[in-house]
Symmetry: C2
Subunit: 214 residues, 2 copies
């Protein structure tokens, strides 16, 4: 189980500083939506440059204008760019095409997409599904969406799965029924007094989850 | 009927240059999603500064992290910031609260929200609804969404309405059944050989629409 470190609500410099402390234990580094919207594509360029050996995820949350936005991310060095599952089918399809053409990946953010609709989402080598409880919803509801596991059972070909939304060392084992390939962790590491130690603990929990899944 | 000029897929400098040519005939100026994602909040600051007398709309398309993103826009001088109707109810509600608190407005972008769901969207002094056919859908489908007019009939209190999606001088009169308060125009003006003349023609059509609606 890979760990994706999500960097949000920092300056680019602070984001890089924190990611450096955690980099030993994380596999993918996410340029958060807030960094992209606050600092633009420069945030992707800078984090790509700071971590040449990591998989860089640009959480651009594309909803329209797919080709332009995918190109922004991929040309800035992102390996993965996100698109909202709530976007139109046309937009999602254009993102898939961009990813295939540029030999990159897209991550479909399923936040606010009812699980019974997931079956219509594309699956493939260039596609990751992200089961995501949004930050605003986490704060209001404190729970994951119902029906996630049942929805995954309906999908004929199992997608690569990332899970996001308030994940901590303690909650990693609870992800087990969803069999994630990637656990996305933000504040638990970035807001920790010791991001290095926090990331080590998440790594340990993720390793144990992986053993349990075998 | 006000005209909102949408600026997308330009450098900040070119966006300001084009908007200057059209400014005489437009009321609201939109910092497009592509400008925000490419150049960050600097795009809002620069366009605010260039057009101190216009209403500035930041098309940030918030989907999560509502308070942070609304503050980014409003603190940079935007009068209106957009939120996706496809976001969770919690996120939309937080955007409404931010707008009220800061005495600004939000625009709810209804792209990819089925018209039968519009009735659940908030309405009020600080809220504009944006009936929007996304760019990717325009290119694929060439039509507006069905059921827009019927959906508006179901809403107990009529919202302030903006309409977007490939609007031209020729299509302005066709908006009449929806009784828009704001017509959002992008490429027809920004890609015109003469943006000044194009904006004048749209202004004329919008004035005629307003007369017809009385």
């Amino acid at each position: 189980v890979k760990i994706q470190l999500a960097l949000d609500r920092f300056s680019i410099e602070d984001a890089i500083k924190i990611a450096s402390q955690a980099s030993q234990y994380v596999d993918w580094i996410e340029v958060g939506t807030s960094l992209i919207k606050e600092f633009g594509v420069q945030s992707i360029l800078s984090i790509r440059k700071a971590f040449p050996d990591k998989v860089i995820v640009a959480d651009i949350k594309t909803f329209d204008n797919a080709e332009y936005e995918m190109n922004l991310c991929f040309d800035a060095g992102a390996d993965v760019a996100t698109v909202l599952g709530a976007a139109s089918a046309v937009t999602i399809d254009k993102c898939v095409r961009s990813a295939i053409e540029k030999e990159k990946q897209i991550m479909i953010d399923l936040a606010s997409v009812a699980p019974e609709k997931w079956v219509s989402m594309p699956v493939g080598d260039h596609i990751v599904w992200c089961l995501h409880v949004s930050k605003d919803e986490q704060e209001a509801l404190h729970v994951r969406q119902e029906g996630e596991h049942a929805a995954l059972q309906q999908v004929p070909v199992r997608p690569t799965i990332a899970i996001a939304g308030g994940i901590t060392k303690e909650s990693v084992p609870l992800l087990s029924p969803l069999m994630p390939d990637i656990a996305i962790v933000g504040s638990y590491i970035t807001k920790a007094r010791d991001p290095h130690e926090a990331s080590r603990k998440v790594r340990e929990a993720a390793n144990q989850l992986e053993m349990a899944q075998r």
